[in-house]
């Protein structure tokens, strides 16, 4: 029986799983479909992470370096898994570049896809240049260029952040809460207020879900940075040619609102990875009815899927924070260690 393990996907969960396995002396092959490791925080150019406040390129960059410097981890970039056959302890993966990888087990750390705001056309993304996504604002901040109106490069005086774009919306078949956007938006609002103290930031929400310790971000954004929260689901975003105009109902005063803004930011949610149907077929694992990779249980073997020997971790399972993705990568690695150990004991007994 081979001892090597295949990790699919080089984001936070995959990097954590690879490192954990290698630390336990298990050789790892890490397959990444793009040409850089780091996953969404690096690909999408996130700025400061929640809750640490560390820059993504430093925090996740450190994880990438740890994996790249590890002789026990073999990284194959620009490749996907084309086929995956065999049984636990003896799998064979054929990659898109023709390579073949033998593996005792695999951990799918295939992550998510950002919601594409084009699918919510009433909110103006793609129609008006000053309607942007949280990812774009992250890039404005992380690039050091600062938050500016795309239409004319000016500093915005008034910014609206719309929550639940691509989340909790039956109209577009996305009923889940994307879990991180409230906290990310509260943090982003504070970053905007820090960079542009004259800029007023309004957050339009249905509910605020800054769960657990993240509540601090909600409180600080209001108490220290005077970010304003308005309970309203926006009906439509239009424009007068200069300002973008947000229409909705301010539910707390039972009044329609038509408010001009310099910029509107969509707090985009986390979709299942667009590749999940292919992954489900390739690895023969079940999908959750919302399209994420299905976790077999909550209390048994961590990260188990419907197929023995195939594990899953991170935002592939559902919307997830970076911290918890890392924890899940490590716990799935622990499940693999346990499986290999049991297999070795069994082999020795025979």
């Amino acid at each position: 029986m081979t001892k090597e393990v295949l990790v699919v996907g080089g984001g936070p969960a995959g990097l954590a799983a690879s490192h954990a396995l290698s630390s336990a002396g298990i050789p790892v092959t890490l397959v990444e479909k793009t040409d850089i490791l780091g996953g969404a925080p690096i690909h999408s150019g996130y700025a400061k992470l929640v809750p640490s406040g560390e820059w993504a390129k430093d925090a996740i960059g450190g994880m990438v370096k740890r994996v790249e410097d590890d002789p026990g981890i073999k990284t194959i970039k620009n490749a996907t898994v084309a086929s995956f056959d065999g049984s636990p302890g003896d799998f064979t993966a054929k990659l898109s570049n023709g390579q073949e990888v033998k593996a005792a087990a695999t951990i799918l750390c295939t992550g998510f896809t950002h919601f594409d705001s084009i699918n919510k056309p009433e909110w103006g993304f793609g129609l008006f240049p000053d309607v942007v996504t949280t990812s774009q604002v992250e890039q404005m901040i992380s690039s050091g260029k600062g938050v500016r109106r795309p239409s004319n490069g000016e500093k915005p005086k008034r910014v609206a952040i719309l929550l639940c774009v691509g989340s909790r919306d039956r109209q577009i078949g996305r009923e889940w809460c994307s879990k991180v956007c409230c906290t990310v938006s509260a943090n982003m609002a504070m970053e905007i207020r820090e960079e542009l103290p004259d800029c007023h930031v309004y957050i339009y929400y249905m509910d605020i879900r800054t769960f657990g310790l993240y509540e601090e971000f909600y409180w600080n954004s209001q108490e220290e940075h005077k970010v304003k929260y308005i309970k309203a689901r926006i009906a439509e975003v239009t424009s007068d040619g200069d300002k973008v105009i947000v229409k909705g109902e301010d539910t707390l005063v039972k009044r329609p609102i038509t408010i001009p803004f310099d910029m509107v930011v969509h707090a985009i949610g986390m979709d299942p990875n667009v590749d999940n149907f292919v992954l489900s077929k390739t690895f023969d694992v079940d999908l959750h009815h919302w399209g994420f990779l299905k976790r077999q249980n909550a209390y048994g073997v961590a990260g188990a899927t419907s197929r023995p020997g195939v594990f899953v971790a991170g935002a592939a399972i559902g919307p997830e924070t970076i911290d918890d993705s890392i924890a899940q990568g490590q716990s799935a690695a622990m499940s693999v260690v346990g499986m290999l150990h049991a297999g070795a004991t069994q082999t020795a007994a025979e």
């Binding site: 007023h200 209001q222 108490e223 304003k228 929260y229 005063v253 009044r255 329609p256 038509t258 408010i259």
Partner: protein, 263 residues
Amino acid sequence: MPIHEKSLIRPENLSTHDNLTIDGVDVSGDWSTFIKARVVQDYNEDLQDEIAALPGGENIHRCWQCGSCTNACTVNALNPDFNPRLWIYLIRMGFEAELVRDKDIIWQCVSCNKCTSACPRDVVPEGVMKATAHWLELKGYTPKTPSTEFDEIFSNQVIHTGKIEDGAVLLGFFRRTGQSPFQDWVIQMGKQLAMGLPIRMLMRMGLATLFHPRTRGWDRARAAIEEYVEEQEAAHRKALGLGGSSHDPHAPRQAQPIPQAAE
């Protein structure tokens, strides 16, 4: 024709013509009923800062609209229109016209501070109510309340002399609020006082009325207090974008037109 949810419609936004014919069709009365849209078209971003600049309003930005203040409110139990939660929201979002609509009930806060105890974010809603009532006065939306008049006469006298002369406070209060000094209860009090023949007290009162005694060495204290009060009042007026000074308490207050809600 019944209008559903009529309670949500303000009467001034209902438009009905008793006699109206359009294209030869008679649509008089209820047939021509229209409801004008009430749309908020902008936020007045200064309003929250104005209230926050007045004593008591400092923590208004902390509010997250849970409604604990309104639930705890003594006055709300008697008058459901008295809603601190709503007013805090209107101020935070800058819905000035909406706020001013309630100018005649905002001052009814009895300062029981049950809201202050109930508030999970330490907004101190009672302070906000006080600041808001003060704001309405400073902006000229409401006349000074009798209690404000009393406070001013009382504190002006203390600042001036370092002492309180009750008779002068009372007479000044009656004068400023347009009340007769010969009120039944005053006459009754005078009669009862006279029956006890408190000659020494009457003499002292008489002397005090004539000579306005001062606390010894009060001038420096007075100067310091006046300077502080002037500084505070100037800061408040500046924060509210008001010119001039409020130094003369007798200066007539200009009535301000109530801003109209955007239609």
